[in-house]
Assembly symmetry: C2
Homo-oligomer: 318 residues x 2
């Protein structure tokens, strides 16, 4: 089976945890233990989020030289290096010596006319007071939005259209190489007036990037691994209940939280509607069971709606 | 022809230049214009230094959280992402749309018993006063060495033994993919007591890593591209004169500056002695002419010593 697995950024650096190298490596090691059995039995292509990490790099950058900030595309590339290296090393340590692994820098093309560019919604980087926010908006043309009593920069989240390195990823995957790629939703690039490509100040949703990757690679399964055991209907209400199986059409009738489960459900539906085998959303520890369709929320084309048993412990966010 | 080219870190961020994203991109664009004609006519595998960039990340890290410093292997991985992305994008913009490019995270195995570990010599990261230097030495077990009136951390520079991702690099190169890899000398990793691999706090000389890469890939030519037009005999003396061609044996009779040309000459000799075609050391702008053996210093097995004409302008360091 060809499996594309997407690791949430929060699986790599838990909410509230100090952002140290030791914590990241320990979390990556946990993820590697969950993924190694899948890698042993299947062709695995691994992608991951980078929210906490790109935020950390932006903070480090601002602390050292607030007037020489690096653009998001370069920070994204740095996090693809950092996280990809840790994943490749920890997974490699659990696999036979002759299993080849590769971490590929990945650019993803977006449309410069994507309506998201008129409506930046994704907060990134440090928090500023009003004075600093106004100055940065004037100096750099950044869009700033309130965040509590402070302000943060917001950037667009355009749709991913094409994975620039897809041909290379495909040929490596076909040769049985475990490929880590499209980290952080990929580095967003757009065609310029002169036909060249350049990075853009945007963040691609990593679940949408994962769905594009899984679709383009004709994956049999697309796993989204997070810190919640399933998609819940009516999350945060007394009638909240886990969904075990559903079709895209059934899911389309319901609303899910825009910040977290919404994009995952949408990504699962995109993959399945584009002809993919099945998608599964659930917790990292259940990855193996999800691939057997025994855990998480399974999204498949003609699945009949099936509810889960009582919600598990530890479900922390919808 | 299969060509391995190594770009000096200073070709990407010139001495004294502010370390901004704009300057890096502009320098990478200059490098891409010098390399694109080679990539059009040959199979090109590209590697690069990361001295200024890893120093910048260490400074950013220390400015934000001096007590939560990331280890060198992770910073190396971040610079492989940052520089690799810029190189791949700028080169891709100058090549036909159907030419495939890939930037690969690259780990290089070193021997944990390498004598370099007893004698750290490579200064990295920020400058400290004596008090901070003593505290860091006690807290983290770092070796600190005087740097003028201040102190800097010094790390070992062990010999590169094996490129972990070599099989992947080889299969991509064979398929005509332009591969960017082994940036910054590669991420140094060593086998632990339990047989697993882990990153080590060390810096592999990027020219030695390049020589290993060129040798392992059976390259026809190994170009080391820097900001000096040739290797000079008796550098910094009135009799200083450029060497046009030489054999490894002839070069072995002379001494070259340990900080800059010494490792390049040694790397060229290693490649040629291991059966490689020829190595060339010279300035980035001459890359094409070096490949035709018409510029730079050419090192080949049975070359007869040949002196250059009058030294060119702009030779800034030996």
């Amino acid at each position: 089976m060809r499996v594309v697995a997407a690791l949430g950024g929060n699986a790599l650096l838990r909410r509230g945890q100090p952002m140290t190298a030791e914590n990241q490596r320990a979390n990556v090691a946990v993820a590697a233990r969950a993924l190694a059995p899948i890698a042993l039995a299947h062709d695995l292509i691994l992608t991951h989020g980078n929210g906490p990490q790109v935020g950390l790099l932006a903070l480090q950058n601002a602390a050292y030289h607030p007037d020489e900030l690096y653009p998001l595309d370069i920070l994204d590339a740095e996090t693809e290096g950092m996280i990809g290296y840790l994943l490749e090393q920890e997974l490699g340590n659990l696999l036979p010596l002759d299993r080849r692994l590769a971490t590929l820098l990945t650019q993803i093309r977006v449309d410069p006319r994507d309506p998201a560019f008129d409506n930046p919604t994704k907060p990134i980087g440090p928090i500023y007071n009003r004075e600093a926010a106004d100055r940065l908006a004037a100096e750099k043309g950044w869009r700033m939005a309130p965040d509590g009593a402070s302000f943060r920069r917001v950037v667009p989240s355009p749709q991913p259209l094409e994975i620039v390195e897809l041909g290379v990823i495909e040929s490596l995957a076909r040769a049985g190489v475990l490929v880590v790629c499209a980290g952080g939703g990929g580095i967003p690039v757009a065609e310029q007036a002169d036909g060249s490509f350049a990075g853009v100040e945007a963040v691609i949703d990593k679940d949408f990037a994962g769905a594009l990757l899984a679709t383009a690679l004709h994956a049999d399964a697309f796993l989204m691994l997070t810190d919640v055991d399933a998609v819940y209907a009516d999350w945060d209400t007394p009638s909240s209940w886990p969904i075990r199986r559903a079709s895209p059409d059934t899911l389309a009738e319901r609303a899910f939280a825009a910040g977290s489960m919404g994009p995952k459900v949408e990504a699962a539906c995109r993959f399945v509607r584009a002809g993919g085998g099945f998608a599964a959303i659930g917790s990292l520890a259940d990855a193996g069971a999800m691939l057997r369709e025994e855990a998480g929320t399974i999204v498949a084309k003609s699945a009949v709606l099936e509810w889960g048993t009582a919600p598990l412990l530890g479900a922390a966010a919808g």
